[in-house]
């Protein structure tokens, strides 16, 4: 129950197409110039079922049932192709007018068909069969669960699919540059403070999550490192492990609790709330969230 489907909409909000890991394995954050992408069709994408989905031309009417995909498409200037999405997409503001066709629990096939899409992108597999039976073209790629640098590859993939490869390359390269810049600043620093993220009710990400990876990048020691995925961590463990930084959805629930009075993050005034949900959606804004967190924790290093 740690990750009910609806929850995942936000938390692991999926990225776009998966690319071969080779493209980003060795030095993921190096902004090396990749071979000039060409808007060449047919273009084949491997989906999470292992099938090849082939594009002969850019789809004009995309149902992007995924916050991250919507953000990516708008970021590369292809937002006009998005005709439908799910109920919880809140970014970018231009997406406000896009038709909504349901959420993880009720995916309206009827509404999907009525939008006459030439591509439906989903990050979970339950509606695939119905969509395909309705004669729709489906691309299914699971959400990113680690290696957030793959967001850049997902951006490039959407660029290839929509024939906007060079715009996508710019966005993806910028993303990688910003990650690399943080990596560089962190390079010569030793281990940073211990930290905890409380996304509400003591639910905390472990190390095998996108957030865990952000902790690594910022050299934070996640006190919930031995938690799998997202789980509720015992408050007594929080007291015992004494985090120096707490990122909380509701800071008052931490600072107002008498049990946490002597926790370093509370006595040092280091209980922070992030200004947006950027770190819960694996899209281009993810790096905004990383930079915000970096500036909160190392105010002298990042401005």
């Amino acid at each position: 129950m740690a990750n009910p489907p609806l929850d995942r909409l936000r938390l692991y909000a999926a990225a776009a197409a998966a690319l071969v890991l080779a493209a980003c394995s060795a030095q993921p954050a190096q902004p090396t110039a990749p071979p000039a992408p060409s808007a060449v069709f047919p273009y084949a994408v491997q989906d999470s079922r292992g099938n090849e989905v082939v594009f002969d031309s850019p789809p004009d009417r995309i149902i992007a049932f995924d916050s991250a995909a919507v953000e990516i498409l708008f970021a590369i200037g292809e937002g006009h192709r998005v005709v439908g999405t799910h109920d919880f997409v809140t970014y970018p503001p231009e997406a406000a007018g896009v038709a909504r066709i349901g959420d993880a629990f009720n995916f309206s096939i009827e509404k999907a068909v009525a939008l006459k899409p030439d591509l439906v992108f989903v990050f979970f597999d339950s509606p695939i069969e119905d969509l395909e039976r309705a004669g729709l073209k489906v691309l299914y790629v699971e959400s990113l669960k680690d290696e957030f640098i793959q967001i850049a590859d997902n951006i490039r993939t959407w660029g290839r699919i929509t024939g906007a490869a060079s715009a996508a390359e710019e966005v993806a390269a910028r993303f990688q540059e910003r990650v690399a810049a943080i990596e560089k600043k962190m390079e010569n620093r030793g281990r940073g403070p211990s930290a905890l993220q409380d996304v509400g009710g003591f639910w905390a990400p472990g190390q095998d999550t996108l957030m865990g990876e952000v902790f690594d990048l910022l050299k934070l020691r996640n006190i919930a490192h031995d938690v799998e995925g997202y789980a509720q961590i015992s408050p007594e463990v929080i007291v015992e492990r004494d985090p120096a930084v707490i990122i909380a959805a509701d800071p008052a629930s931490i600072t107002g609790n008498p049990a946490f009075r002597d926790v370093t993050a509370v006595t040092d005034g280091a209980v922070f709330k992030l200004s947006s949900d950027a770190l819960s959606i694996a899209g281009p804004r993810f790096i905004d969230g990383v930079e915000e967190l970096a500036a909160l924790i190392y105010p002298n290093l990042f401005e």
Binding site: P4, L6, D103, G201, D226, Q232, G256, A259
Partner: protein
């Protein structure tokens, strides 16, 4: 063999000189010897479970040290502090409040369950039967997912919303099933059916709210699954008066519940005022359950299994059943919470999962062993 139902107050001999002169009726029957030992044993077990579990948790405070830490707060005892300050916080601010809250919530749920099983003469009755849980769930979901602030001046509104909605739901079920012809309270079958129907309605309302809401449902889901992870002393203080009042009322009707096992008609012939017992029992059980649910979420199985377990072992006399079942429920829930905080440490399991996983097999074992039909 034990009689199925202790219809008379056993200890008093029928031939006792005074008995014949009294007006025949429940009020005037001589009292039986109350099995205080059984109840005291229950209290001792509950206290022992509470103290032992103070030494068990994800942070490894050795049980002996935990005992010393407890003793150090006793007046007149000088115990040198050999433990870090953080352990004091963990024990006094985190572990003990959840032990106490689990204990009182377990008692409330088990007592309500026993009362409902007796009142409705239905072995499947639990404290949530006529809408308390579904109502509380709707209230809590509404408070969490709609834009209203969830706390005012540091006081969380969630328990208030859950409690209010639970009471309203049961009241609605009660009002709807009230019979128009001046019968003594609503027919119990109608009350169950109305309760079940209203529960479905409230459950559907909660599901709808969740579907239409912000996607981060974790707070709602954690709340619905129940637990003591955020228990504080103030929660225990809030819970205690409900338990005290509710339990006292239920105990007042213990004998009535015994007689009611014969059915409503027979009870009236025996001079038992069923009409007053119904609203009193439903009201007391609802207050206890609503308070419990609003502070710790929906924890299943305690209210169903604890009374049955006691009934299987010690028989169905409500005068003993109610207190012993309550004490058993408290001890059981404290132990379930120990498992919830240690099994996958440093993470926690929802305590409702633990009560079901441990409660169901134990109950089946009892059923098998006793081959009881005394439910």
């Amino acid at each position: 063999m034990k009689p199925l139902l202790p219809l008379r107050r056993e200890a008093a001999a029928d031939s006792a000189p005074g008995a014949a002169q009294r007006v025949p009726g429940v009020e005037s029957l001589p009292s039986f010897t109350y099995p205080w030992r059984r109840v005291l044993a229950g209290v001792a077990v509950l206290a022992a479970v509470g103290i032992v579990s103070a030494g068990i948790g994800p942070v490894g405070i050795p049980p002996l040290t935990a005992a010393k830490m407890l003793a150090s707060r006793l007046p007149g005892l000088e115990v040198a502090q050999t433990w870090p300050d953080s352990w004091d916080t963990i024990l006094w601010q985190l572990r003990l409040p959840r032990i106490v809250l689990a204990g009182v919530v377990g008692m409330a749920l088990a007592a309500s369950g026993a009362a409902y099983q007796g009142l409705f003469r239905n072995p499947l009755a639990d404290p949530y039967l006529i809408g308390a849980a579904a109502g509380a769930g709707l209230g809590a979901t509404a408070a969490l997912v709609t834009g209203v602030p969830t706390s005012i001046g540091g006081v969380s509104l969630l328990p208030v919303a859950a409690f209010t909605a639970a009471v309203l739901t049961v009241t609605a079920a009660y009002a709807i099933s009230r019979s128009p012809v001046g019968a003594p309270g609503p027919p119990l079958t109608t009350l169950i059916l109305a309760g079940v129907a209203i529960s479905s309605l409230a459950g559907a309302g909660a599901a709808f709210l969740m579907l239409r809401s912000d996607p981060d449902l974790r707070p709602v889901l954690s709340w619905l699954m129940g637990g003591f992870i955020s228990a504080e002393w103030s929660d225990c203080l809030l819970m205690l008066p409900y338990l005290a009042v509710g339990f006292s009322v239920v105990m007042t009707y213990a004998w009535t519940l015994n007689v009611m096992q014969l059915g409503e008609g027979h009870s009236r012939q025996l001079g038992v005022d069923v009409g007053r017992a119904k609203p009193a029992l439903v009201g007391a059980a609802t207050l206890m359950t609503a308070a419990a649910v609003s502070l710790s979420g929906i924890i299943g199985f305690v209210g169903l299994v604890a009374p049955h377990a006691v009934r299987l072992v010690w028989g169905p006399d409500h005068r003993t059943l109610l207190p012993v079942a309550a004490l058993t429920g408290g001890a059981f829930l404290i132990l379930a919470d120990v498992a919830a905080r240690t099994l996958i440490s440093p993470a926690e399991l929802p305590v409702g999962v633990v009560t079901a996983v441990c409660g169901a097999p134990f109950f089946l074992y009892l059923l098998r062993r006793r081959r009881a039909h005394a439910l």
